[in-house]
């Protein structure tokens, strides 16, 4: 009669199960620590970097405002195409939700939408505006204040990774704030101090102030909307003086972009570009 020795098999199974449990536990612990470190780094450490950079940029901006030589140039209205936001202004307010996303420029299909008259009509054929030299990439160009969104940040020239790690960034090849055209400023929503964390609070009618070497420029918000990351029409150059703010949407995701459009209502160039108040 043969006997079956079952004990070693059971013992080996127990050892295997314990080893698997130990390995699984260590792996999960490692993943947990990695994710914890990721969240801590993105939300807190990067903010420390950005705040330190802002201290230096603020001093640099003060120096730029004090020393840069501004100039006077002629401005001819109508040299740039009509803004699609003019059409948007006549639409009912668009809620800042993914439902508002669009992948085309408003009015691109040619539809005529009733537009609320915006400043810019009845201007003189030519006027003088205050200008400033183009800043170098990475240098401070202005300070943006949005009381409705708790924004008070120094704006840097450029929207590269390194630029946006120091604060909000002005997109090169777009107008400077306070100048004719469309000044585009981008900023982080979640990391690096999250300059535009509360940008969704901004509503039509709110004011945005940008102080540059040419003075204090006041904009009024016309529209907020959610677009796709490759909707480049929002950075187009339009007639008048516009400010376009862009940030990631929703928070903690780079899936879409939240865009706020505002037009100039006050400042040294307002009367020449958009007409008398």
């Amino acid at each position: 009669m043969t006997t079956i020795d079952w004990k070693p098999t059971v013992a080996r199974r127990r050892v295997d199960a314990a080893a698997v449990a130990r390995f699984s536990g260590k792996t999960l612990l490692g993943i947990g620590l990695f994710l914890l470190g990721f969240v801590a780094y993105q939300l807190f450490v990067t903010s420390v970097f950005a705040r330190r950079a802002q201290d230096g940029l603020t001093a640099e901006l003060d120096q730029r405002i004090a020393t840069v030589e501004t100039g006077i140039e002629a401005y001819t209205p109508g040299a740039l195409p009509e803004s699609p936001i003019r059409l948007l202004a006549g639409l009912s307010p668009v809620a800042v939700t993914p439902d508002g996303a669009t992948d085309r420029a408003p009015g691109a299909a040619g539809e005529e939408l009733p537009g609320e008259p915006l400043p810019g009509e009845g201007l003189a054929d030519e006027a003088a505006i205050v200008t400033e030299p183009l800043p170098h990439a990475g240098n401070a160009i202005g300070r943006i204040l949005i009381p409705a969104a708790d924004v008070d940040w120094t704006v840097v020239e450029g929207v590269g990774l390194a630029d946006l790690q120091t604060g909000a960034g002005h997109m090169p090849d777009t107008a400077l704030p306070g100048q004719p055209g469309n000044a585009v400023i981008s900023g982080h929503r979640t990391t690096y101090g999250a300059p535009f964390f509360h940008l969704d609070r901004v509503k039509p009618g709110d004011e945005i102030t940008v102080t540059t070497a040419t003075g204090r420029h006041v904009y009024r918000v016309v529209e907020s909307r959610v677009v796709k990351p490759n909707d480049t029409w929002v950075t187009g150059q339009w007639d008048g003086a516009w400010l376009t703010l862009t940030t990631c949407n929703p928070r903690f995701s780079s899936r879409e972009r939240l865009v706020v459009f505002a037009h100039l209502i006050g400042g040294p160039n307002a009367e020449a570009i958009v007409g008398p108040p």
């Binding site: 780094y41 997109m171 981008s186 535009f196 480049t232 862009t246 903690f252």
Partner: protein
């Protein structure tokens, strides 16, 4: 694991400590680069368009 790594390093103790410091610094740099890439790709690109 750190103890096993330390034991496997060649040289006297002070040399092992130095090697451990270099390994830790390199690991930290790699970790931060990984965090940066993940953050810039999935969490927040800075709101750039295009």
């Amino acid at each position: 694991m750190i103890g096993r790594l330390f034991s496997s390093l060649p040289g006297p103790t002070y040399a092992r400590v130095l090697q451990m410091i270099v390994i830790a610094a390199a690991s930290l740099v790699l970790l931060i680069l990984c965090y940066e890439w993940l953050g810039n790709t999935f969490l927040d690109t800075g709101g750039r368009i295009g």
